[in-house]
């Protein structure tokens, strides 16, 4: 198959100047080509970079395609761009973000209820970082502001869409952990049939 190098070049040029993920629809409109053709070409370019072990890669995130450097060269880049901000999110911010990601749209009270602690400061820092935004109000809850995650969130976490979030069920505490917690609060001794002789495994899991 002959490669349409003009189309490939044009797409690469657009990706190169773009400061955000570009959707297939947008590329196809600007270049006046079918979405199918554009889609295929994007896949092909990504595959080419991968196959040739280029220093950059083409990834599909947050509803579009965007060029990134290959993670293998992170250290070199960090040396080169001293000002790179690599500060991580605090544990509190991550927790609040997780609640918003899975429960969106959610009010501040909803976030607080899960975390058991006031999340106001954390919330404004997430908004400031562009990971979370206000999205209307909840009429049923005294017009409280509702929060959702943003496209930047998807991008920073490498997700194509919210559907790609890991299923929350996978992170539910398992039955034994649940039973252990209940028991420690003097609840009805829920069937922990085995002798708790292997405490340590249980305890480690709770941590």
């Amino acid at each position: 198959m002959e490669i349409d190098v003009t189309l490939r070049g044009a797409i690469e040029a657009l990706l190169f100047v773009s400061d955000e993920p570009v959707s297939v629809a947008r590329v196809s409109k600007i270049l006046e080509r079918d979405q199918d053709v554009v889609s295929q070409m994007l896949e092909m370019i990504a595959e080419e970079y991968r196959g040739q072990e280029r220093g950059f890669q083409l990834r599909e995130v947050a509803g579009g395609w965007r060029l990134y450097t290959h993670p293998a060269h992170h250290d070199a880049i960090e040396q080169y761009v001293l000002s790179w901000d690599t500060r991580r999110l605090s544990q509190a911010a991550l927790e609040a973000l997780a609640v918003i990601a899975y429960h969106q749209p959610v009010t501040r009270a909803g976030i607080n209820a899960v975390r058991g602690v006031n999340s106001e400061a954390v919330l404004s820092s997430l908004i400031e970082k562009g990971l979370v935004k206000e999205a209307g109000r909840d009429r049923d809850a005294g017009n409280a502001i509702l929060y959702t995650t943003t496209r930047t969130f998807l991008e920073k976490f490498g997700l194509k869409s919210l559907d790609e979030l890991p299923p929350l069920e996978e992170f539910a505490p398992d039955e034994r952990t649940e039973a252990a917690i209940k028991e420690r609060f003097g609840g009805p001794a829920v069937a922990v049939t085995e002798e708790p002789d292997d405490d340590s495994s249980d305890l480690a899991e709770i941590d």
Partner: protein
């Protein structure tokens, strides 16, 4: 604007509680709750400097723990339901707390997974170089409609707001004890002890602030009709009597 002070390595009352629970040996149930409660209170006690919002969250959990603990120690539990949990029996309060802990734990786990993803993605850099010179002129005018005076007003307003904020911060710092919180605490003390003297409510070596806020607290409770006050002589110790105790005796 809220200042967040880190409390050791805990991100909130649930986090602390989970760690305490994890540390404990699986034991007779009743002893467990007692120990967890004591350890929890010990931590809360040690937190001497943190913002009031955080404090109230921790205290709410402490109060709930105490209620569960009290209920588990007493044969007749019905009289030990605090005003906050009107509709909940101690069992329900406990179940609610356990459920919330489990949900919290789930989100804590998924937050760790998200952190790992974010870390991986942060090793891939997008291009931040901006447009090539030839194309810069085509960019939309992001400053459209903004005047120079408008910009100056924004800056002046910010500086002004900051001044006011610093003033308020100072003002707040002078009154670290919340009357509402303290009133609640006095009320709980009275519920436990029944009749008490003012000096007993103060504890040992009270600071002037404690004396003032405790006096305000009993005045507030008196106003709400929750206690009776009696002072036999000028400068005598004030005797504080919870109203429902009066009714019962």
């Amino acid at each position: 604007m809220a200042y967040r002070v880190r409390i050791d390595s805990f991100e909130g009352p649930f986090d602390l509680l989970l760690q305490l629970v994890a540390r404990q040996k699986v034991d007779v149930a009743a002893i467990s709750i007692t120990e967890v409660t004591d350890q929890y209170l010990e931590y809360v006690d040690r937190m001497d400097e943190f913002d009031l919002d955080v404090a109230s969250d921790f205290l709410l959990v402490a109060a709930t723990l105490l209620e569960i603990k009290a209920a588990s120690l007493l044969p007749d539990e019905e009289h030990f339901i605090g005003e906050d949990m009107d509709d909940l029996s101690p069992e329900e309060a406990r179940d609610l707390l356990v459920t919330r802990l489990l949900v919290y734990k789930q989100f804590k786990s998924v937050a760790a997974e998200l952190a790992a993803r974010m870390e991986a993605v942060s090793h891939m850099h997008s291009r931040q170089a901006g447009l090539e010179e030839g194309f810069v002129g085509l960019m939309p005018d992001y400053l459209e409609g903004l005047t120079l005076r408008g910009l100056a007003v924004i800056c002046a307003d910010l500086l002004h707001q900051r001044e006011v904020f610093l003033l308020q911060a100072e003002h707040v710092a002078a009154a670290p004890i919340s009357l509402e919180l303290h009133t609640e605490s006095v009320s709980r003390t009275l519920a436990h002890r029944g009749v008490a003297r003012f000096s007993e409510l103060l504890g040992q070596d009270p600071s002037p602030e404690i004396v003032v806020v405790t006096l305000l607290a009993i005045l507030e409770l008196y106003k709400r009709g929750r206690i009776g006050l009696r002072q036999d002589q000028l400068f005598d110790d004030i005797v504080v009597t919870p109203i429902d105790t009066i009714g019962a005796s």
